[in-house]
Symmetry: none
Subunit: 134 residues, 4 copies
């Protein structure tokens, strides 16, 4: 199974709605099971630097099938994955990237959101995940 | 003036509809006036290698405010812009990238489409441009 | 609105004058609203390694519409943006990059200065910002 | 001997004046004897893709101490330097890059201009060289 464009676009729209609800301007990226970009949107006035970060969060979440923030806990100085960010052309390991699972529990893609605090990024990303699964 | 997300998403949807009409599977990328990614969609089953090409076509069209195919005519062996593709982290200079102009005729962004013949890529890109301007 | 070359060159000259006043040798870079380079100067004898740092500071400040030093406070080990520097082809997150706002308060570009202590870099960058706004 | 910032800025200004005289919008880059960026200006509305090309032309001219167009004649299919553009992170080998010599005939830097036809790029670059040498 693989994330469809229909699911990805539903995730983008849900993330935009959640952002508007919270008064935020976000970059939203979706990758499929192969970690390849499937859909992307930058809300008007959202940070330009978050284009790349949203994509890297989505890829990072799919690369390791876990929330980006979990990897970040392991990549700190002294941690078991210290500086893993140097791999894969650059990872982003703070919150805002979440894997998306299919009906059978297998990971079929991921979302990455960037443009606010990492807490807000994660909240908006979760709204996207919920919409993709409907 | 700058391409808005609303315009970019209208272009994406029009390009998808045109692709469906023609039986094609496309990657569609939109950049704004600063050549920064604004919206992207990969249709289910579209070439993975066209993710990057669609983005590079959109950037190339905005970088030089002309259709990518026009640059390609000048970048052939013996042409005045031979091997210009080595600049800017990689350009794509065959058809499928088109600048988008605002009401005052100024370039406000560009679209890049990749996934079929360059003729089809250009046709689908033009459908996107038309929708962005409505 | 967008930073003009006239504004960018005024910022460069003010930064050079401030550097001379303080006995410093600086690299000074200006980017516009799209984070694209608009003007640059390296004072005679200034660090060669600061060419890239000045540009990255300017881009970083525009990418996130805040002083580079503010991002650096959040990107420390344990901080919410740890290792954000791996995005966007490399960010610089210590002081010396400052966004430039237009008359309406919107960010229209940014300056990045590198060549001395981060305190001096910031002081010289601020002189550039002040000149751009006159 | 090395190109000074004073010389580089004189070249930039002369190139801007020549561009205005010809009704062109140019990107102008100067590198010193070490092929490191010394000064840069993008005229309002000049092609964004020419930022990188102007810099690469200047570096290419200094890397080989000849006009970029001369290298381009040798880098054609079947030529002795075919695809030399793949080196050094990307070269640009069509006209618009010219070495700058000091009083003793030694190369002290180079200029690169991009934004119009290669003939116009070369004309404007020559105006910059003339000003640097005064």
């Amino acid at each position: 199974m693989n994330l469809s464009l229909k699911q990805a676009q539903a995730a983008v729209q849900a993330a935009i709605e959640k952002s508007n609800e919270l008064g935020l301007k976000m970059n939203i990226a979706l990758v499929d099971a192969g970690a390849n970009l499937t859909a992307f949107a930058r809300m008007d006035g959202a940070w330009l630097g978050s284009v790349d970060i949203a994509m890297k969060k989505a890829r990072t979440a799919r690369y390791f099938d876990m929330n980006t923030g979990q990897i970040g806990e392991l990549s700190q100085p002294g941690g078991s994955l210290f500086n893993i960010e140097h791999s894969n052309g650059g990872l982003i390991t703070f919150p805002g990237g979440i894997p998306i699972k299919g009906a059978d529990g297998e990971v079929i893609g991921a979302i990455g959101v960037s443009g606010s605090t990492v807490e807000n990024d994660h909240t908006v990303a979760q709204a996207g995940v919920d919409a993709a699964n409907q």
